[in-house]
Point group: C2
Chain length 333, copies 2
């Protein structure tokens, strides 16, 4: 790879007429060198295009400067479209700290932790970033017990105390903001379109809706419905059930963009706000208002958490992106 032999510290030292140690210092502790020595060495480094060999540096410092990230299996094709953006953000955030992301996969079931154990044993990574947390996710506890560094995007809601540092997006705050937005447009009956419990995130969003409605004096009775599955069809059917009720809503906050699309295309006038601001939210007419997770900030925070031994958890505020789906005229009821 690359043409010919790589440039080493030795080559630079010879060129600059100093010892290898001085070249190393120029790179890692420049304040130790005299200005003119530093200038000579720096020039030689630039001329030769020298960059330290990563393996050698890692071996010596016993830090790989690599962060392990397990790519969830998408066998069913039902990807979390946000994960795409997250991975880009995570890579960029890691690079800002001179690191890279190493991808790996994990089998389901009892062997799920094996790849983590292997990567640790081989000293292939310094830390892990976790996401796609599932109910009763065993990873956080396992990693804590094995003394591994990690930071989690998402909480493990079932534990008494969340093991290890985490970053999460305040779903309750996001849905509360969605409710206030719809209320400010004149809506008085705002429904919530839920999903099967997924460990806590969905309930969290629902609580935000409930609390905001309570604060604004809006009803919630008969306005809560759950979709059996996160599909467009289930979203549509659930919305129709609400609309066919005695006191139908004029607006709706959904726990995901996918079910929000179903509600939006149910054929009746209904203001809709989704959750996640997936790429399609902007692409599908008339444009779906949605609660956007601040992925770049999540990524930066995760990387920072890896070096922070004190911080336990950080809750980030999502942002409501308003599009045409929530701007339908309110009918007088």
């Amino acid at each position: 790879m690359g043409n010919g032999r790589a440039v080493t510290l030795r080559d630079v030292a010879a060129r600059a007429g100093v010892s290898v140690q001085t070249v190393s210092n120029a790179l890692n502790a420049p304040q130790r060198l005299q200005a003119d020595t530093l200038a000579t060495v720096t020039a030689a480094i630039r001329e030769l295009g020298y960059q330290p060999n990563r393996s050698a540096r890692s071996l010596r410092t016993s830090s790989a400067r690599l962060i392990g990230y397990c790519v969830a299996r998408r066998a069913d094709g039902v990807a979390n479209p946000m994960m795409d953006q997250f991975l880009h953000a995570l890579t960029a955030a890691a690079e800002d700290e001179g690191r890279h992301v190493l991808l790996f996969t994990a089998p389901a079931g009892a062997e799920a932790m094996t790849p983590y154990a292997d990567l640790i044993a081989q000293r292939a990574v310094d830390a892990f970033v976790l996401s796609d947390t599932v109910p009763h996710d065993p990873r956080h506890r396992w990693l804590t017990e094995h003394g591994a560094r990690f930071a989690s995007f998402g909480r493990v809601w079932h534990e008494q105390e969340q093991p290890g540092p985490w970053v999460d997006v305040d779903g309750a705050a996001g849905c509360a903001e969605a409710v206030r937005h719809l209320h400010s447009l004149g809506h008085k009956r705002i429904a919530f379109l839920g999903l099967p419990p997924d460990g806590g995130a969905v309930q969290d969003r629902q609580h935000g809706w409930q609390a905001a409605c309570g604060q604004l004096g809006l009803p919630t009775e008969g306005l809560l419905v759950h979709c059996a599955d996160d599909t467009v069809r289930h979203g549509r059917d659930a919305a129709l059930r609400l609309l066919d009720g005695a006191e139908p809503p004029t607006a709706l906050v959904a726990a995901s963009d996918v079910v929000a699309f179903g509600a939006l295309h149910c054929g009746r006038p209904l203001a809709v706000v989704g959750f996640d601001d997936t790429p399609l939210a902007a692409l599908v007419p008339p444009g779906l208002s949605s609660v956007r997770q601040p992925v770049a900030e999540v990524a930066r925070t995760l990387i920072n958490l890896l070096d922070d031994d004190h911080e336990r958890g950080v809750l980030l505020r999502p942002e409501l992106v308003v599009r045409a789906s929530s701007r339908t005229t309110v009918r007088e009821s």
Copy 2:
């Protein structure tokens, strides 16, 4: 990371009562050892849970066993949803060969190759896998000229000869199959919904449609339309333009799922086949038939190409996934 000091070759050698060299041989050249020696050493390895330190091994063998992959920037949010699946497939394929994927980002413009150059200089990766190729993509030529190993998912259509090994999906074959499928259902006027030229892939798909129609004796005149952008709205508008023409189509093959959705929801009966089989194709009622790229096979082939100095390019056949969107009844015209 991990509890306490890592287990080294020395520890295993001490435990097994042999030299470190013998332990190394047990791992890398077991046929050199006598059966009983091998058994002793293997037992010691298992008991201590030994795994070779990656940095040390990489330094010694000058191979990082890491494959660099640049995550495209998704600033506009218009991700390629297939890339998600691809990344998982690539990671899995790399692992099957004892490697991992290292993610990095690249700036736009003149500095686009800098991260590649850095990774090479640092010996951080052994090879690159390229995807998201763009018109006049400079990467293939640059990497070839710099003697770097790589394999590309997608061709650079503008070059005389594609620099370096590549894998691509036969878009023409996919669209031809879509046409034959629609024809077998009785459709006689099958349109093509194109996109702005993107370097060649879109034209390739269009040619497949054209050729298949020709072979089946079907008309193409007035049945080709291009969307200005890859959005649902543009897809719908373009479909309506076709349907409002003198001799409207009864079916349509689209260059992407997104514009296919627009055509499918244009409010008129129209059989539709999309391209890419994005996750939403299955989720959005009534279900969108779509040409699926064989991402797992693409990934495997790319990894194999990295070790193959002879193979130049591999063209893989996509698979038509039939759902309800292409099964509408044909009206007699």
